[in-house]
């Protein structure tokens, strides 16, 4: 079994395992970038500054991917505990709805109102995450069921908050700069994405939390017997996922200046799961790769632009995505790689049909 067990977490082995996991997603990302550069020229990758904000195609992709990145990072932690969180899209909508609605009811241009709105939205998102985690950890509800409840009900809740309308925040409110602004020319969503990424990496890799998460996901019962408070860890993972989803909703709403309870972050949970899997974290729990997830998000974001740049019609959107995901999934499978490379490895003289191999193998 290649699936890393918590035992082999020694420095060197870990680094090379890391690289192996990340190599294939990186190759796919590079290929996508090359395709785009070939079609649209180097302008694609070279950032330009406009209105004091970095722009250009690739920077725009990163900026637009920030909400998906946040959600995918949260999802990575949840998946590490052998769970899954389907409610993140709904929490995205709830976070966006709370923030926008609160600002609309107050003084739109007041910084204090905006700060309170964002804090309130994040607090409720955290609460929802903790609720999900508690259902999974303490009441033994299967993660897919526990979070499915809010996936279905969440958008209804968001609609109740917005009164079925799409609340729009004025363009001069400080709120919109969370989505559109820039600090030292770097767009704010990118800054938030990097900050959350750094915080989670520090939290999971410099403290024992990462190891605890992996051991809980690897074997909850053994972890409990080893004295790890598995339930608390699980709740924490869902809570972080909730906050990330709420924050993503805030960025999305700030970008548009409005909160669409029905369509905001629609199906983002599936893209997030996809990004996590592309990034090398398996749905079985245990080892997780925050860097891999980030690359996965970049692949998904770049892919959407590639479809337009290459000139594929909109009917191709889903098919093209499926093809790329298929390629990444296949590349990551050691069995598939071995199967593909087999004719080259056996060498010319001993070239035997594949069907004979299983018989030969035991003889050796």
């Amino acid at each position: 079994m290649n699936l890393a067990s918590p035992v082999q977490t020694a420095g060197g082995g870990r680094a090379s395992a890391y690289f192996k996991r990340l190599m294939w997603p990186l190759i796919v990302l590079a290929a996508l970038l090359i395709v785009n550069i070939a079609v649209t020229g180097f302008d694609f990758i070279v950032p330009s500054v406009h209105d004091g904000r970095l722009g250009g195609a690739f920077v725009n992709i990163l900026r637009r991917s920030a909400p998906l990145l946040l959600i995918a990072l949260g999802m990575t932690l949840v998946i590490a505990t052998k769970g899954i969180d389907l409610s993140v899209g709904a929490v995205y909508a709830i976070g966006a709805a709370i923030a926008c609605q609160y600002i609309l009811n107050g003084d739109q241009s007041a910084l204090g109102v905006v700060v309170t709105a964002v804090t309130l939205a994040l607090a409720i998102a955290a609460l929802i995450g903790a609720w999900n985690g508690a259902m999974v950890a303490y009441f033994g509800v299967q993660p897919i069921v526990a979070t499915l409840i809010l996936m279905i009900a969440g958008r209804g809740i968001a609609q109740l908050i917005t009164g079925g309308q799409i609340p729009s925040v004025a363009d001069d409110s400080p709120f919109v700069s969370i989505g559109r602004g820039a600090i030292a020319t770097v767009p704010v969503p990118i800054i938030i994405g990097v900050a959350v990424f750094a915080a989670l990496v520090l939290l999971t890799r410099t403290t024992a939390l990462g190891m605890l998460l992996e051991s809980v996901g690897g074997n909850p019962e053994a972890s409990r017997l080893a004295g790890i408070r598995a339930k608390g860890i699980t709740v924490l993972a869902y809570l972080i996922a909730g906050i990330c989803a709420g924050l993503a909703g805030i960025i999305g709403a700030a970008n548009l200046g409005s909160a669409d309870a029905n369509n905001g972050g629609l199906w983002i949970e599936l893209d997030a799961i996809l990004a996590v899997v592309i990034g090398g974290t398996t749905l079985l729990g245990g080892r997780f790769f925050l860097v891999g997830t980030t690359i996965g998000v970049a692949i998904i974001g770049t892919l959407e632009v590639t479809i337009i740049n290459v000139g594929l019609s909109s009917q191709w959107q889903f098919t093209a995505k499926a093809i790329v995901v298929f390629i990444v999934a296949m590349l990551q499978s050691p069995e598939f790689r071995a199967w593909i490379l087999r004719p080259f490895r056996t060498g010319r003289p001993g070239r035997t049909p594949a069907a004979h191999d299983p018989e030969k193998a035991p003889a050796k």
Binding site: N60, G164, I166, N255, S314
Partner: protein
């Protein structure tokens, strides 16, 4: 709004109760003063839909010929609509109005309605062709005609251009409004002797988020120098695209002309602000027209299979005057 939602839930609960009791009550049904109408609405998923619900309710209230409108909000679930229709049948309403959530799966319940002798009118959306005999008429927007209006304006506006560069923001792939608005638009452009180039066309999924993201990519890929016109299949996408255009340092409405379909308050406001150039209306306020149709159908009059909603289109000069009239 909360009150309205609660009222909706209460109505649902009442209906459920009625079903549970076996519908023994003998109320409703061909009463002497006025018709009883059951309306299974999709939900409250958009401002357009809310305006539509309000319009139908208001018109029913104001109309003497209608005794009662049983309004059911199906929260975008077909099961709830089917349940609502079964309740309407049990209650022996005079006419059933259905705004179907999806196109398929209506054969059984609509056959039941037919056997009970209750005529069915579809509102807004259609159902699959195999079930065409199961309803009397469909009242709704003529999406192809909406596309044609946008096309006609384009042909006139850019008549003097040598060639016109066009970007299109499509609605959700495969949806009827997206297909038809595209078809109607290009039917006019191709029909007239008009030189144009469709520089790019992608789906923005009818959302502001999608419209903005796709427009950003359009701008970074094609630039706006050779683009004269943006045609957005709804106003959410158009409004998103306007943000993208502004953030890229261009002036929407001037550097690039913009047509949107729908005509919400937000859309008209953008028009008043000079950010777009033509609005094709997709009118949700067809309550009065629907009530007339209900009465005709209840009287057994012959009606066309499709009843287009009266819809308009607005140019730059008309935005300001029209803005206060917008219902959604």
């Amino acid at each position: 709004m909360l009150k309205k939602t609660l009222a909706g839930i209460a109505t649902g609960a009442l209906l459920l109760g009625a079903a549970a009791c076996g519908g023994g009550d003998d109320e409703g049904g061909g009463g002497s003063d006025g018709l009883v109408v059951g309306f299974a609405q999709v939900g409250a998923e958009s401002a357009w839909r809310t305006a539509n619900s309000d319009s139908v309710r208001d018109s029913a209230d104001a109309d003497d010929r209608i005794a009662d409108l049983q309004f059911v909000d199906a929260q975008q679930q077909q099961e709830k609509q089917i349940e609502a229709i079964r309740n309407f049948i049990t209650q022996k309403v005079d006419v059933i109005v259905l705004a179907p959530v999806v196109e398929t799966g209506w054969t059984d319940v609509l056959t039941d309605a037919e056997q009970a002798g209750i005529p069915v009118i579809l509102a807004d959306r259609g159902i699959e062709e195999a079930d065409e005999d199961l309803y009397v008429t469909r009242i709704g927007s003529d999406f192809v005609e909406e596309g044609r209006k946008a096309g006609t304006w384009t042909v006139e506006e850019f008549a003097e251009n040598e060639t016109t560069g066009i970007l299109q923001l499509e609605g959700t792939v495969g949806s009827a409004p997206a297909n038809d608005r595209e078809a109607g638009f290009f039917e006019i452009l191709d029909g007239e002797d008009f030189s144009y180039e469709l520089v790019d066309s992608q789906s923005g999924d009818f959302t502001a988020e999608g419209g903005k993201a796709v427009m950003e990519t359009f701008i970074s890929t094609h630039g706006l120098e050779d683009i004269d016109l943006l045609y957005a299949h709804n106003d959410e996408m158009g409004l998103g695209a306007i943000q993208a255009i502004e953030e890229a340092g261009y002036e929407p409405g001037t550097d690039i002309q913009i047509i949107i379909v729908d005509g919400s308050k937000a859309g008209f406001q953008a028009g008043v602000d000079g950010k777009l150039n033509y609005i094709v209306e997709c009118n949700p306020v067809f309550g009065d027209q629907l009530m007339d149709l209900v009465v005709q159908v209840a009287d057994g009059a012959d009606v066309e299979k499709f009843t287009p909603v009266v819809e308009d289109a607005f140019g730059v000069d008309e935005f300001e005057a029209e803005l206060p009239n917008r219902q959604f």
